[in-house]
Amino acid sequence: MTSRPIGKDVPRVDGWAKATGAALYTDDLSLPGMLHGALLRSPVPHARIAHLDTRRAAALPGVKAVVVGSDLPAVKYGNWRLVPTTQDELALARGRVRFVGDEVAAVAAVDRDTAEEALALIRVEYEPLPAVFDLDAAMAAGAPVLHEATPDNVSVTRKIAFGDLEAGFGASDYVREDTFTVQAVSHAYLEPCATLAQADDLGRITLWTSTQTPYIVQCLLASTLGLRENEVRVVKPAVGGGFGGKMELRPWDVCAAFIARRTGKPVKFALSREEELATGRRRHPMRLRSRVGFKRDGTLMAKDLQVLLEGGAYNSMGPTATFLVGNFGAMLYRYPAYRYAGAHVYTNHAPAGAMRGFGAPQALFATETQMNMAAEALGIDPIELRLKNAMRPGDEIPDVATVGTCGFAECLERVAEMSGWREKRRRGPGTGGGKGLGIGCYSFITGGVFNWFNTPYPFSAAEVRAYADGTVHLLTMASDIGQGSDTVLQQILAEELGIRMQDVQMTAGDTAMTPKGDLGTWGSRVTLMAGNAVLEAARQVKEELARMVSLRFDLNVVQEVELKDGMVRSKFRPDRGIPFAEAVAMAQKANRGKPVVGRGTYTPRDMGLVTPTFSFGAQVAEVDVDRETGVTRVTKVYTAHDCGTVLNPMAVDGQVHGCIQMGMGYALSEELVMRDGKTVNASFLDYKMPGALDMPECEAVCVETHDPRGPFGAKETGEGPISATAPAIADAVWHASGYRATGLPITAEKLLAALDGDDSIAGERRAEASCAIPDPRPRG
């Protein structure tokens, strides 16, 4: 294998183990004497718990513990540690449940069957409270209140504003206002959540859990149990996907740890698919009202965006979503004036959380669809309209963010070429015999600079230990949850030290064994942030070894030492060098045995409010609409994207494909269908996630930029493209059929109804729906 892995199709370091089933996920782990847990969940959307009797369950042979809310410390938790008033969750309900699935009690028993049998023996008397299931009901005067501290059910509001909005609209020749709605969808990660807790004789906890954020789980678990942070050790085993749904402390983590401490036995909880779909986190449904003004020639003048986020029963990551949707609303194009107001609204549904693209899929479905509608009205080709307004390198969102590298305009040109856009799009809508193509674009953050968790540690850290046998060990808390970051971080290290991939070993995602800290996997942050930390650590090792070779060969001080092909040598006189292993041995001896170790950290500073750097891209989807059945098949997707410098083309391709798959489900078929607070389609039979056989042909090119803030020039690629897919497909459906969707998903039935002129089924009567945020009511 090459010793220059950067830029190559390096296969996943964990690929073999995962493909053969050897990889160990949390639910594969088992400890002697381990108990199995199960959770009792509320069957009603909103109620007071009048009476709770666990005696029969506790008496069932094999049951070792039954825990209810009053057994646990009354410590609320939530990821927004920076603003404690947003922390509104308890692991188990105390006196009140707020959604169907809210956790009420936990049982641990000698096996899973016994635990489930015990659940059935717990008697709960619910006194129903009126419930609210949509934005309007939740915000109506006199609506039932979910949390007393939030009497208007609006838990978070955020604003962004720059430029002179009035002047912008005043000078516009063409102004349009549209309302868009997007639905709740599931992360549908293949591995349902699972957790395994073990307590030592002092009550300290080791928790193996399926998480994207070991450090966050460590801190919040400690706080809920009254322990000090480092009395909890969180270990992340192999994780089967997260997509934002596994970045918080969850009730089963708390229950497992609590029961492990109480019983002295290890305790495991493993959720079922049905639990995940019916009660798990989801992408925020939103209603977005957008007003935008253009000059006759297509120049953007102003945008006014109001967004209501349906948050469900608790805040979860809602505060961040409420900000980000406004940030993404200002991306992609140069808006001389922009105003955003967003509000996060509680309802009696399972809470929404972070999900791939976080705020962008919703914001950009609105932005991009509206651009396409405006292009149609102005008689300008949608790609030309975008090129006229596209963000360029160095652009700013005043007081919020600065755009560094930006290949957006080139992405637009490339995707137009690849797809034969100018030729194919000339046809009018609905004239292509059911065929059509459409465009959507994206921009996304490469890691967040925000510190809502209020960590006092670096955002990412790495330690590199070099050994005299030629191997190195990389330690980092960064968490590969399937996206491939372990591979990329090892590539970065091997490249910098001039060694081979197989010379690198890695320990990751263990809060006791890996250097503090790491905020986890979210916001497409790992390659940039942990990557930079790895680079810094590697450079310290490199410096140390270079010193040895300089000494050994008495190199002139102007001579550069390079680490390449397993050698440490003069770049100018390659014959003057020694193998990496030998250089490490020398350094150790020269330091009286002290190991060769490098330590690196990364914390973004002075980079605005959002991110170190943004990715960009443009996507064209081709579809075939069956006019008689309403079925849309996506036949081809072209993507041109700027993810900085490509570190691993195969990994980048995988991310783009994954984004297309998820974006396609968002566009056409996925939706958690709710009725009276219950999820109607809580199984993969009826939750219509596209499968491998539904995938269109995908063609992607990278418009490479070199971002000085990324390791080797890299930016993100794991989340951005997902936001382009739904608007591109929706636009293609318009081109194919003449129907312009402003709501998702565009199911066959909805599309057919719309084409047949039946608006009631298509749900297009929302034009009058308000996105106004009511004046805050006094807080209790």
Binding site: R112, D113, E116, S272, E628, T629, V631, R633, L668, S669, V673, V680, N681, L685, D686, K688, P690, G691, L693, D694, T747, A748, E749, L752, A753, I761
Partner: protein, 304 residues
């Protein structure tokens, strides 16, 4: 999810199977591929005390074809066996279409046609075509054997006329006929791995360029596979035009009784019946016309 406790038997002869069925009666379930049974057991929808596996009984999986007797599918014939068999491809393309519409490769390698029928889901993909094709089933118990037209097997969702001690032994499909074509079309939201919201089998025999006989059977739009006899009979004597039978789907769409659920509304299902019936007839017509005898000669005997 926990399975109920049950005893598993793996008999090696048909007689042993029948003896076990006689002994345990309603407490027992036979298991073919298990792709329905195990799912239902783990959901607690059925809780048999005894499970009788069929896979060790030799010969039950045989698929036989000859031009005189037609096609015979033993009860352990897998969906993938049907899909891959050259005789099915040559003479029963609609059966292959239905098999193709069933689940995924992995499931098809386990799932049996008989299991698909005995499970009696209204949306079972293999029932409509087999019924349209005039298939019959042989039911065997220690008390003896009886043979029924397949359509008579079904009583309601999940319910058949099988007695507790009865085994569906084999499925027989009449031999292919001249100037005859069948087709199966289904509709679901995903292109694969999905339950059909609507399934339509249609077939016809042409004589002198006109419909001598037609069959239309619908899946997923009634408690049991729905045989649209009147609509099919109405086609008799018609001559397929460029767009064959533009309104042929309207009557079956009226006559069926679909439910609305999270997969599709009743109204949408009805509309789709109309579309799919027409399309299936078009495809069936093309197949029939591929046989030169369709236009000229009187086709062979027309009764099933």
């Amino acid at each position: 999810m926990s399975l109920c406790k049950f005893a598993y038997h793996g008999p090696e002869t048909l007689d042993e199977v029948l003896a076990l069925l006689a002994e345990h009666g309603p407490a027992a379930r036979v298991m073919a591929g298990g792709t329905d049974l195990v799912v239902k057991m783990s959901r607690g929808q059925v809780a048999p005390a005894v499970v009788i596996g069929l896979k060790r009984v030799p010969g039950l999986g045989d698929l036989r074809f000859d031009p005189v007797h037609g096609l015979e599918l033993g009860c352990m014939t897998r969906v993938s066996d049907v899909l891959e068999h050259p005789a099915v491809a040559a003479h029963y393309p609609a059966l292959a279409e239905a098999a193709q519409a069933t689940a995924t490769v992995q499931i098809r390698n386990m799932a049996t046609i008989a299991g698909n029928l005995c499970n009696a889901s209204p949306c079972a993909d293999n029932a409509p075509t087999l019924i349209a094709r005039g298939a019959s089933v042989e039911l065997r118990s220690p008390r003896g054997s009886r043979t029924l037209p397949l359509a008579e097997l079904f009583r309601g969702p999940g319910q058949t006329v099988l007695a507790p001690d009865e085994l569906l032994l084999c499925i027989t499909v009449p031999p292919p006929r001249a100037a005859t074509g069948f087709a199966y079309l289904s509709l679901s939201q995903r292109s694969a791995v999905d339950v059909s919201a609507v399934g339509v089998a249609a077939g016809l025999t042409l004589a002198d360029g006109r419909v001598a006989e037609a069959r239309i059977v619908l899946g997923a739009v009634a408690p049991t596979p729905f045989v649209a006899t009147a609509a099919a009979d109405a086609l008799r004597g018609q001559r397929p035009a460029d767009e064959a039978f533009p309104a042929a789907g309207d009557a079956p769409a009226e006559a069926c009784s679909p439910l609305g659920d999270v997969r599709a509304s009743a109204g949408y299902r009805r509309k789709m019946v109309a579309v799919l019936v027409r399309r299936a007839l078009e495809r069936a017509t093309a197949r029939a016309l591929a046989d030169g005898r369709a236009r000229t000669a009187r086709p062979a005997e027309v009764t099933p």
